[in-house]
């Protein structure tokens, strides 16, 4: 039982990351009709936003404190982060909470990156074949990856969660069981992911802006005839997708130290998630993300592996193959969207 709960949490956690990336992918596909292979790179850029932000906060000033001596008798050099020197204790708190705060930094950055990407490159590919779109965004992903690699090196860069959330929590205790410990940060990530997904879905469902976007997904021509600049709205949607991927990446840094190819690693799986959920379906992507995440972590339990060796390695792809062959539109795909 403990094992099951633990694996369920693991799966939800993994699924949350898949779903957040897949959400943006499917949104971009549904609105712009673009198959964006550079979406994983946006996740990676978001992760590096967190790295940059925490480095910025940790810029240090060196002061010499004559009152304290090193063991060698010379005055001690004291290093304090600039923010702390300026703002005192509040600054120290800022440094501690750099990862969650980096979201505030990541949102404008990702918005700029996303809009620049859409206006600068992707809009020229609306009318071209999906294969061309895949190829050019694949090239773009390589370029973005290499730029990051040139600036940050090839090794993963560790980023720490705030000390208050660094430990584990007894999840079992809440449920009346004993001994199911789970890292705080992963729970935070899960809650954060759910909140972001809720916001995006609510935006699409309950605002007028979102309603117009949804109408554009159904029939962009008619929306255009009504005098609405649907292209502009779709650009905004691309920006939102970029922001979602970016903050998903920023918050993920304490779980997996980011390196330049973290985006590609997630991209392949997220694509599978999108296709399983149904191209262009937002709720489908969220559902499929959690489904595949949970299936993957249950498949990696020893009890399962003993019966079906290697199943943990292939379960996601296996599910994808079966779903694609049995349900041509994916689990929740809309009728008429890329059915053949």
């Amino acid at each position: 039982m403990d094992q099951l709960i633990l694996q369920l949490l693991n799966g939800l956690d993994k699924g949350a990351a898949y779903a957040l990336i897949a959400l943006g992918l499917t949104l971009v596909f549904g609105t712009l009709g673009i198959v964006n292979f550079a979406h994983g790179a946006l996740f990676m850029i978001g992760a590096f936003c967190a790295v940059v932000f925490s480095r910025l906060l940790q810029l240090e000033t060196v002061t010499i404190d004559p009152a304290r001596l090193t063991p060698w008798g010379s005055p001690m050099e004291v290093r304090t982060p600039l923010v702390q020197a300026w703002l005192g204790d509040f600054g120290a708190v800022l440094v501690q909470w750099s990862v969650p705060l980096s979201i505030l930094f990541a949102i404008p950055v990702m918005l700029i990156v996303g809009v620049a990407m859409e206006r600068g490159l992707i809009r020229y590919f609306y009318k071209r074949a999906h294969a061309d779109q895949i190829l050019v965004t694949f090239g773009l992903a390589i370029v973005l990856q290499e730029i990051v690699k040139a600036n940050f090196g090839a090794n993963p860069i560790p980023v720490t969660a705030p000390a208050a959330l660094a430990g584990s929590v007894d999840v079992g205790g809440w449920l009346g069981l004993s001994g199911v410990f789970y890292p705080w940060w992963r729970l935070v990530y899960l809650g954060f992911a759910l909140a972001v997904m809720g916001l995006v879905i609510a935006f699409l469902r309950f605002t007028t802006y979102g309603m117009v976007v949804r109408a554009g997904m159904e029939d962009r021509q008619t929306v255009g005839f009504l005098g609405i600049d649907i292209e502009k709205r779709f650009t905004v949607v691309f920006g939102i997708a970029a922001v979602v991927a970016g903050i998903a990446g920023a918050m993920y840094t304490p779980i997996v130290s980011p390196n330049y190819h973290i985006g590609m690693d997630f991209l392949v799986l997220s694509f599978v998630v999108v296709v399983v959920g149904g191209m262009g379906s937002v709720s489908g992507a969220v559902f499929a993300g959690f489904l595949l995440g949970i299936l993957q972590s249950f498949a990696s339990m020893n009890e399962v592996k003993n019966i079906l060796p290697g199943i943990d390695q292939v379960i996601i792809y296996l599910v994808a193959v079966v779903v694609l062959l049995v349900m041509p539109r994916g689990l929740m795909g809309r009728k008429g969207v890329m059915e053949n």
């Binding site: 294969a131 190829l135 040139a150 694609l324």
Partner: protein, 379 residues
């Protein structure tokens, strides 16, 4: 008749260019056998990929799986049967063909992006399984290698045991360095010839018709599935041959050859050179492998050497601008080049060559010979 003669000239020019690689590659610093073997092998791989993607328009993102399977098959043939290359390649062809038939049969039920994802899923499954459960066959992370006490049934029955681990051979000719290159080159030319025959045949016409409009094909009463499946299998066999040759030049097969990035590489090669053309994929393969092996070895000292003709201040400025793009950063150059080509030159380097020729060559070579254009003055 002239079309046939042109093809013959085309083939001869290609064959001469391939066989003369050690001569004309020397000024580029690429005329050593290890690299030229790679040119030829990845040329075969890309030609095969082009038979699928270039002719039918089905974009497979899992083609490296067949390359990997071919490698494993060849190494097993070395281990169990004989160090002779012929059975190794034959086994690689057989196994990769069967594998392609199985994957193609399922994947080709869908088209477009779904086909890409299905092939990607199968390739990733093969890769993950090769690393984990199939370790007895693939030797997992270490990679499958030859050992001193391998059975090698045929060799043991016919010849006395030589000391040490034997090298792959072709009826007694040991294949190291140049011998291996010429073997790869000859097979590349054969593969090119077959691809050319397919391209000119009614079967090739069918494949191109599928690319231009599959629905219309279906309405005219053709069942397109057997054609696409044959193209998929042929293309898988090409990849298998390439994998087998990789094992011939270096008898070690690892799972990383099947990873999806390797599949992405062959896509890059084909697009870069010119999708849908015969020689384009080979050019793309040469360019990328050249980048990977030569360009990536450039370093600061070499750059300073190259730009030493500039005045001092300017030199350091140019070097600092260029240096992120060479050496470690060669992927960056490749990515930018690739994007530029997809955006501005969808026909790849071949189309670029054609445009240049159309501009300067007084209109020669434009028009109907779109798919057989050749940068060398073949006509």
């Amino acid at each position: 008749m002239t079309a046939l003669r042109n093809d013959l000239i085309y083939l001869v020019v290609f064959a001469v260019a391939v066989l003369a690689m050690p001569i004309w590659l020397a000024p580029f610093g690429a005329a050593y056998p290890d690299l030229m073997q790679k040119f030829a092998i990845y040329g075969i791989f890309a030609i095969g990929f082009n038979i699928l993607f270039g002719m039918t328009g089905y974009l497979s993102f899992g083609h490296a799986a067949f390359l990997g399977v071919g490698s494993y098959a060849a190494v097993w043939s070395f281990k169990l049967l004989s160090m002779n290359v012929i059975p190794a390649i034959a086994l690689a062809v057989l196994v990769s063909g069967l594998f392609a038939a199985a994957i193609g049969y399922i994947s080709l039920r869908r088209s477009g992006i779904y086909f890409s994802i299905l092939t990607l899923a199968f390739a990733q499954m093969s890769y993950n399984l090769a690393y984990s459960v199939f370790t007895p066959i693939t030797n997992g992370e270490t990679g499958l290698q030859l050992a001193l006490n391998d059975p090698r049934v045929i060799d043991r029955a016919l010849f006395a045991d030589a000391p040490g681990i034997p090298r792959p051979n072709l009826f007694g000719i040991e294949l190291g360095g140049y011998e291996a290159f010429y073997l790869c080159a000859v097979i590349l030319i054969l593969c090119f010839f077959v691809a050319m025959r397919i391209d000119r045949s009614p079967f090739g016409m069918m494949l191109k018709a599928i690319k231009s409009n599959q629905t219309r094909m279906a309405y005219t009463g053709f069942n397109t599935r057997p054609y696409t499946l044959s193209a998929f299998i042929i293309s898988g066999i090409y990849a298998g041959i390439a994998g087998g040759l990789l094992a011939v030049t270096d008898p070690l097969a690892g799972a990383e050859r099947m990873q999806w990035t390797a599949s992405g590489e062959v896509v890059l090669m084909t697009i870069l050179g010119g999708v849908g053309t015969l020689v384009g994929p080979v050019i793309g393969a040469v360019v990328i492998k050249y980048f990977e092996n030569i360009f990536s070895a450039f370093h600061m000292a070499k750059l300073e050497d190259i730009f030493s003709f500039l005045p001092d201040g300017l030199e350091s400025f140019v070097v600092s601008i260029v240096s992120p793009f060479v050496g470690e950063g060669w992927h960056l150059t490749l990515g930018i080049m690739f994007m530029l080509i997809v955006v501005f030159l969808p026909g790849g380097l071949m189309e670029g060559a054609r445009r240049i020729r159309a501009r300067f060559g007084g209109g020669r070579g434009t028009g109907s010979k779109a798919h057989s254009s050749n940068p060398a003055p073949a006509e």
